[in-house]
C-alpha cells in the first residue's frame, strides 16, 4: 500500500517503527469517538432499516411484512399532510431567514467595536433553546395576557383578544417569526465567515471600475459567497424539515392538526400509537429526503458556479 498522503515528505522520520507508531496512535486516539458513532449512529441506522420491514409493536409479536410499511406510509393521509405542511413551512421560512441573515451579515461585516457588539447581540438568541424560546413566544402572543398581543391590540393592528394560535396562518407566522429570531444569528455568523474570507481587494477593484454597491454585491460578492450560501441553505432546509419543538410547544399541532410536521407525526406514530415499524418507515423516508435535499442543493450550487474562479 502506498503511504497515506499528507504524512510523507520528511515530516515523519523514515524509520518504519515510527511510522507504525503513528498509525497505532492514530487508530487508538480515534477509536473511542468512532466506537460511540458506531454504537449510537450506525447500529440504530441499520436497526431502523430492519424495522421498516416489520410490523413492530412496542410489546408483542414482531412480524416480517416486507415492503408493506412503505406502501402504508405513502398511503397514510396523516403522514402525507404532515410532509406537505413541513414543505410549506420550509418553503416560507428558508428565504425569509436567508435574506435577513445575509442583510445582517453585510451590516455587521465591518470590523470595530460597534460591529462586534451587534454580532454578539444578533447571535444571542442562538444560545437560548428552541423549546425555551417557544415557551417564551407562546406567552408573548397569548391573547388577554400576552404583551405582544396587547401591544398589537393597542396599536389597532388586531381586534381585541386575537387568538394567534386559533388560525393556521397566523400560528404559522408567529412560529416562523420565533424561529427567525432564534436562528438568524447563526446563519449570519456562517455568512460572515464566508464574507470575511473574500479578499478585500476583489471588491475594491470592482468599486474602482465604477460598480456601485448593489452591482458589487450582485456580481462580485454573492458569486464568491456561493459555497457559504450553499452550506447555510442546506443547514436551514434540513433544520426546517426536522421541525418539532416549535410546533409541539406553540401550536400543539393545531388548529385541527393543521401544523403537524413530519417529525411530529413520527413522534405520534411511534410513541403515542406505538406503531414502531411504521414510525421507523416514516423516519427512513424522512432520512432519504434529507440526504437527497442536501445532495441536490450542493450539486446545483456547485454546478452553477462560474468555472473561471482563480
Amino acid at each position: 500500500m502506498t503511504p497515506p498522503t499528507g504524512l510523507g515528505r520528511g515530516a515523519a522520520p523514515r524509520r518504519t517503527p515510527a511510522r507504525a507508531g503513528v498509525r497505532l496512535a492514530g487508530a487508538a486516539l480515534t477509536a473511542p469517538a468512532l466506537a460511540m458513532i458506531a454504537v449510537f449512529f450506525y447500529v440504530p441506522l441499520v436497526t431502523m432499516l430492519w424495522m421498516t420491514l416489520h410490523d413492530w409493536p412496542l410489546l408483542g409479536e414482531r412480524r416480517f411484512v416486507g415492503l408493506r410499511n412503505y406502501r402504508d406510509a405513502l398511503d397514510d393521509v396523516a403522514f402525507r399532510n404532515a410532509v406537505l405542511f413541513t414543505f410549506e413551512y420550509t418553503l416560507i421560512s428558508t428565504p425569509v431567514l436567508l435574506v435577513l441573515a445575509l442583510a445582517l451579515a453585510l451590516l455587521v461585516r465591518r470590523s470595530g467595536h460597534a460591529a462586534r457588539f451587534f454580532q454578539g447581540l444578533y447571535f444571542m438568541p442562538v444560545v437560548i433553546g428552541l423549546a425555551a424560546g417557544s415557551f417564551l413566544w407562546l406567552f408573548l402572543f397569548q391573547s388577554d395576557i400576552g404583551p405582544v398581543s396587547h401591544l398589537a391590540d393597542r396599536l389597532g393592528l388586531t381586534s381585541r383578544n386575537t387568538d394567534w394560535f386559533a388560525d393556521k396562518t397566523s400560528a404559522l407566522l408567529v412560529v416562523i417569526a420565533m424561529v427567525t429570531w432564534k436562528v438568524v444569528g447563526l446563519q449570519m455568523l456562517l455568512l460572515l465567515a464566508g464574507l470575511q474570507a473574500i479578499p478585500a481587494e476583489v471588491e475594491e477593484a470592482a468599486r474602482v471600475d465604477g460598480a456601485n454597491k448593489w452591482q458589487t454585491l450582485r456580481h462580485i460578492t454573492l458569486p464568491l459567497l456561493r459555497p457559504t450560501l450553499a452550506l447555510v441553505l442546506v443547514f436551514s432546509v434540513a433544520g426546517s424539515l426536522l421541525a418539532f419543538d416549535q410546533f409541539f410547544i406553540m401550536t400543539s399541532g393545531g388548529p385541527t392538526n393543521s401544523t403537524i410536521t413530519a417529525v411530529y407525526e413520527i413522534y405520534r406514530t411511534s410513541f403515542i400509537q406505538f406503531k414502531l415499524g411504521l414510525g421507523a418507515t416514516f423516519s427512513a423516508l424522512l432520512m432519504i429526503v434529507l440526504v437527497l435535499v442536501s445532495a441536490l442543493q450542493l450539486y446545483l450550487l456547485r454546478s452553477s458556479e462560474p468555472g473561471s474562479e482563480p
Binding site: V22, T30, F40, L242
Partner: protein, 251 residues
C-alpha cells in the same frame, strides 16, 4: 419575561398586562422549588449533569480523535473520517425510534447517562470537524520540536497542540453544552419519569398545567431559570465562542 416571573400570581395573568411588577413577589420561584408539587431543583440538577457530561465527553473524544485525524494518518483514516461526517446528514430526529429500542436494550431509558451518550454521539461530528481543523492549523514545526524533545503522541497533544487550539476547544465545549442544555425532543422521548426530566421537558409539564390550571407566572419563572445560565455563559465567553466559531469556519 424576567419581570413577569417576579409578579404576583394575580398580576401575572392580568389583562391588560402590566409593564413591571407592581408588587414584586418570589411566589413563582417558590412554586418552582417544590411548593406546587414539582421540585424543579431536581430538574436543574439533571440538566447540569447531562450538559456537563455531554460537554466533557464531547471534548475528550473530539480532541483525541480530532488530533488523530489531523496528524496521525493511518490506513482507512479517510474512510473513517468520512463515516463520522455522514452523521451530519442524518440527525438523530430521524433515528429516534431505533435509538429508543437501543437504549431500552441497554437499560438506559429514563437515565441521564443514556441521554448524555446520545447527545455526545450527535455532537461528535461537528466537534471532530472543529478540532481537526484547529489542529491542522498548528504549525508542524511545533510538533516536531516536541517530538525531538522526546514527547510521545499524547504528551505532544496535551502540552503543545492543545494550548494553541484553545479557541476551537472552547467553541466545541460551549456548543456541546448549549445543545445538551436546550435539547427537547430526545429528552421528551427517552425519559418518562418526572424526577429525571431536564429543564426543557419540565417546562412542558408546567405548561401542561401540572399545577392545576396553566400557570403563566410559574412558566415564566421556569423559562427564566432555563435561559439565564446560557445567557450568562454566553456573555462571559462570547469573545471566544463567536470568535472561535468564526476562525474555524473561515478555513
Amino acid at each position: 419575561m424576567i419581570t413577569y416571573s417576579f409578579k404576583s400570581p394575580s398580576e401575572a395573568v392580568a389583562a391588560p398586562p402590566t409593564l413591571y411588577p407592581h408588587d414584586p413577589s418570589l411566589e413563582h420561584y417558590r412554586a418552582l422549588a417544590g411548593n406546587g408539587g414539582i421540585d424543579v431543583l431536581d430538574n436543574v440538577r439533571n440538566s447540569v449533569v447531562v450538559s456537563l457530561g455531554t460537554t466533557l465527553a464531547t471534548l475528550v473524544l473530539s480532541i483525541l480523535a480530532g488530533y488523530g485525524f489531523a496528524r496521525l494518518r493511518f490506513p482507512g483514516s479517510n474512510v473513517l473520517f468520512f463515516a463520522t461526517l455522514v452523521t451530519f446528514m442524518v440527525p438523530f430526529q430521524a433515528l429516534v425510534t431505533p435509538l429508543y429500542l437501543l437504549l431500552d436494550e441497554f437499560g438506559l431509558l429514563n437515565s441521564l447517562l443514556g441521554l448524555t451518550l446520545v447527545y455526545t454521539t450527535f455532537q461528535l461530528p461537528f466537534g471532530l470537524f472543529l478540532m481537526r481543523n484547529s489542529f491542522a492549523a498548528v504549525p508542524r514545526s511545533l510538533e516536531e520540536a516536541a517530538r525531538i524533545d522526546g514527547c510521545g503522541h499524547l504528551q505532544t497533544l496535551v502540552r503543545v497542540m492543545l494550548p494553541v487550539a484553545v479557541p476551537g476547544v472552547i467553541a466545541t465545549g460551549l456548543l456541546a453544552y448549549f445543545t445538551a442544555w436546550n435539547e427537547f425532543f430526545a429528552a421528551l422521548i427517552f425519559v418518562n419519569e418526572q424526577e429525571r426530566f431536564t429543564l426543557p421537558v419540565t417546562l412542558s409539564v408546567i405548561a401542561a398545567g401540572a399545577l392545576g390550571s396553566r400557570n403563566w407566572g410559574v412558566l415564566q419563572a421556569g423559562v427564566t431559570v432555563t435561559i439565564i445560565p446560557c445567557v450568562i455563559i454566553y456573555v462571559l465567553l462570547e469573545k471566544y465562542y463567536v470568535g472561535g466559531l468564526l476562525s474555524t469556519l473561515k478555513k
